[in-house]
Symmetry: D2
Amino acid sequence: MTVRVGVLGATGAVGQRLIQLLDPHPSFEIAALTASDSSAGRSYRDAAKWRVDSPIPADVADMTVQATEPNSVPDDVDLLFSSLPSSVGAEVEPDFCKAGYVLSSNSSNARMDADVPLVIPEVNADHLDLLEVQRDERGWDGAMVKNPNCSTITFVPTLAALAQFGLESVHVSTLQAVSGAGYDGVTSMEIIDNAIPHIGSEEDKLETESRKLLGEFDGASLTENSVEVAASCNRIPTIDGHLENVWVETEEEISADDAAAAMESYPSLELPSSPDPLIHVFSEPDRPQPRMDRTLGGGMAIAAGGIRESPFGLQYNCLAHNTIRGAAGASVLNGELLLENGYL
Amino acid sequence: MTVRVGVLGATGAVGQRLIQLLDPHPSFEIAALTASDSSAGRSYRDAAKWRVDSPIPADVADMTVQATEPNSVPDDVDLLFSSLPSSVGAEVEPDFCKAGYVLSSNSSNARMDADVPLVIPEVNADHLDLLEVQRDERGWDGAMVKNPNCSTITFVPTLAALAQFGLESVHVSTLQAVSGAGYDGVTSMEIIDNAIPHIGSEEDKLETESRKLLGEFDGASLTENSVEVAASCNRIPTIDGHLENVWVETEEEISADDAAAAMESYPSLELPSSPDPLIHVFSEPDRPQPRMDRTLGGGMAIAAGGIRESPFGLQYNCLAHNTIRGAAGASVLNGELLLENGYL
Amino acid sequence: MTVRVGVLGATGAVGQRLIQLLDPHPSFEIAALTASDSSAGRSYRDAAKWRVDSPIPADVADMTVQATEPNSVPDDVDLLFSSLPSSVGAEVEPDFCKAGYVLSSNSSNARMDADVPLVIPEVNADHLDLLEVQRDERGWDGAMVKNPNCSTITFVPTLAALAQFGLESVHVSTLQAVSGAGYDGVTSMEIIDNAIPHIGSEEDKLETESRKLLGEFDGASLTENSVEVAASCNRIPTIDGHLENVWVETEEEISADDAAAAMESYPSLELPSSPDPLIHVFSEPDRPQPRMDRTLGGGMAIAAGGIRESPFGLQYNCLAHNTIRGAAGASVLNGELLLENGYL
Amino acid sequence: MTVRVGVLGATGAVGQRLIQLLDPHPSFEIAALTASDSSAGRSYRDAAKWRVDSPIPADVADMTVQATEPNSVPDDVDLLFSSLPSSVGAEVEPDFCKAGYVLSSNSSNARMDADVPLVIPEVNADHLDLLEVQRDERGWDGAMVKNPNCSTITFVPTLAALAQFGLESVHVSTLQAVSGAGYDGVTSMEIIDNAIPHIGSEEDKLETESRKLLGEFDGASLTENSVEVAASCNRIPTIDGHLENVWVETEEEISADDAAAAMESYPSLELPSSPDPLIHVFSEPDRPQPRMDRTLGGGMAIAAGGIRESPFGLQYNCLAHNTIRGAAGASVLNGELLLENGYL
């Protein structure tokens, strides 16, 4: 038995990835697509400029795109994946929740709200029950779970694997792919033979979202992790795959081998989109690399490598596919967790 | 009156940049070119596959390339710029010094030797007098000064500007251009739509060379600076210009404004190739960028930007042209310092 | 004595190149800058996001940008360089001409109008006198000369050099840089690790503009050249420099050597921006190349190479810097021709 | 029942693709791997620097690489795929044929030999019987079939579809990916922000191989097609996928619609690696594009688009994945044809 799902913001870059990942999917069936008013009423084929590297699914292509508002989504749709621009998401996502829909959202609005679970299933699945608090407080029949920013998702699983040693401080530099800014986000004149440092608003997300993800939920409220994180975010001329340089200081001193073992053995989940292993650890020092390793585990794995001791603790590199594990796939995985935990 | 100079390893990528920078030069005149045995006896035009972005100088093009050995260089040549592969440099550079030549070398061999000055003129010109110790110990008529690795040169001037506040620790991530690996160093299959982390042997150079450059020379020996440096080096698809993300912890707490002022006012030198200002500080947060800013000051300036306070002290980005300020121009500048200080 | 000039559309990519080329210029002095209403009233520094690879000229940076309308330009300005979007140009350029201004325009509107000279000075300077016809017909005090599309300018000078042998047919494939589409014209997602064929409306320009440029002006009207041209235009991931593959069939059979000699000896002009030689012919078969050769002659030279006989006549490659020789520099050169010929 | 096969030159770029395509394969089982002497005796995992975008097959990784000579290949191996450098192929491939092995070779040596079938199965499967002539003339127990150059394979199927209208002349410009030159064939310094025209020896292959492929075999000898082909070959900064601009003049005048219909209906074959349809015709004018369309049909389809009438007949663009359809997949497909036709 499959759950009927919808995609809010279906024509954008993440929306297209969502459709690619959901067609087919063992538990979900696409039943509604929404986009901006200018797309409403057109076929998906016409409204979306399809740019994903597999053909547009034939059945989805002929669906009619609806306006992004609760009454344009059929009642028998139980789950909505949202990849709306954050300003739009901030405005309309609560309306959908009020109307009884459960949202798995990639939009950045509301991620840091105290009663909104921010979830990477393999890291903090237990935070999902913050939805009970959310429903109580907001009086919603529906609910809203968020996944973090793509650059946050890339390194937090490796920190989760090391958390047993006591996380004290993290420095992280990112080398981010252009797809992370959306299809029109980075012009070719900006990035060919170039790199852009200190990219807007990413650094703050890594610093705050990681503390929430690694925090503790006691059934009533969430206490953030005390780890201090400093991020420096760069855009480079790659299409997909965020590469990150990480330094971690831990309370307990650990060797590179211990760290590698902790990452390799970090458990995956029995959800359709969760890869096994979750973290692929390379022994080659110059891996992972974006073009070579971004599709590991169907784009859902975290890759790590170059694990070594530094003057200040541990140092390593990690990588994830930013529009699959870091966005569309993250939302799908949260949808699978919602189903598994009885929220649908 | 001009000094007659030679270029050892004149056909390689750095050798070509040396010739571009030396033709013309107010104090130096090219009088000898050497390369590997396979090039010896050929015209420079034939031996070098010229790839620099200005035409090959006509007078140099017709010079005959000699083998890289002391007796192939005319006696009236006083200064040799060396851009030999380090394994070759280790073998033959001492022979030239013994034979009485003064070398300004970009090759990585011997950089960390106790009696070899490793110099960025604007940072530690006083280290040059280590040459007296060198001549005493080695019995050379000639002498050898080295400039550091391109990725070291990019960030050390900014640290020198901050040294007054007491340097404690530095984390640095580099986004390095392909030209830093030499003309054939990085294949297109390796780097298009990709990035390579943890690139070989760069990280150690940043960590050790920076401590030597920032050290103190008391006239007899050199004491390294105690700052701890941890580096993570990446190759990205840019042609020229190394961009670096830096975090610095200082003894004395400083604001971003203080740091910017310290960098902007850091003194330049009155040498032909020294730019004024040495450090160009951008107020735009997303600068410097490689393609936009690598030619500042004729490729000899250091660019800095995004200076901000972080959870752990100060954070900023810096950039330099890796084959000009970071290699060929660094050697030329050391040659100018040798001339100024009476070593020629 | 310098002529006071203005730039219409000064904040765009070509507008910025115009300012770079005009500051300084031996004959012209920038006295007015216009842009869209949203920029009017702001300093040029604020209104333009400066992206050219040399610093913004200090005196221009502080000028106030005006709205693009005749009464916002001082009366003592004699010449206006126009790099307006073609839809805007179509609307407002005639107003400036009516108001007495002489325009050297890069905008694509009106290029094929029978009484508008389309000029590459080294190719068809005599067409400039079509301005007499234009003024007669339109009753303008001012006048308007156009330069062709960047991809047209790249190959027409080589055809002009071969015209003595009788041009019959031309096939041309272009490999065009992203800057040709303007700063925001090509997204990074569209072009990294990719190429785009059959790019919009370029092909028609090559086919029609080349026949007009190579046509004959008898003092009263212009007869187009009868050569048949078929173009195939592609966008590739290069920043600047259009490379073109050309096949030419001529009435008189010619050897590759004859063709090379004809190109090399094709005369340049004594105008400040005209390079000497106009056409740089490479003997290396794999040249010209965009990154290596686009700055020949300050970006104003045409480069040719790989000249060889094919089953169907002659075959070769050519290249020009698309935003200098192909746009801003082309307009400046036409301005110099206007001055030389007494139109200012 | 599967055929045991070997790969000659298994560690190179095409060799790796061969292994990716053969593991698994419905008819073939990898039983032998050879490479240069320096790799012989090592495990494939150690000898090959695996760079293909899927993990190295586990069973192949542990196989021992043998020297490239007939007696290092087991007798029960029936078919050898050869991706040797052409100079090596010229030397050793005949030895394997003498020793009784059947070769499906991608190496460029011997492609134009009169008794060597050069085959694209969907285009000229009947040429395979030239093997009877070959065995007669050379006295071999084995045999050798070749596939053409990657840039030839890209456009010849489209010509085959149009051959019914009488091919007279073809102009073709190629925009070729770097992988076509092998892993180390193009340095990053050569190609980032650049393009290389007139690349060595490609143009001649397109011109001669296409006439052989489109020729007629009467059971005894092969008559080349009389179509005149002029090629201009360029390297651009793409990883995989050759894009080509084609102009075709035909005896019978045809419309763009007729041409599209002829391509779309051109028959595929019932071989495991033959895609259906063979030629995918795009209606969007700016397709096919390398990154978007190179994996159509598992990388075995030919994509065409932009079909339009030109002053000189027909004009269109086409694309194929150069290391799959253009090399490794081409050899595998020829292997499948050999099996189908009883040569194994």
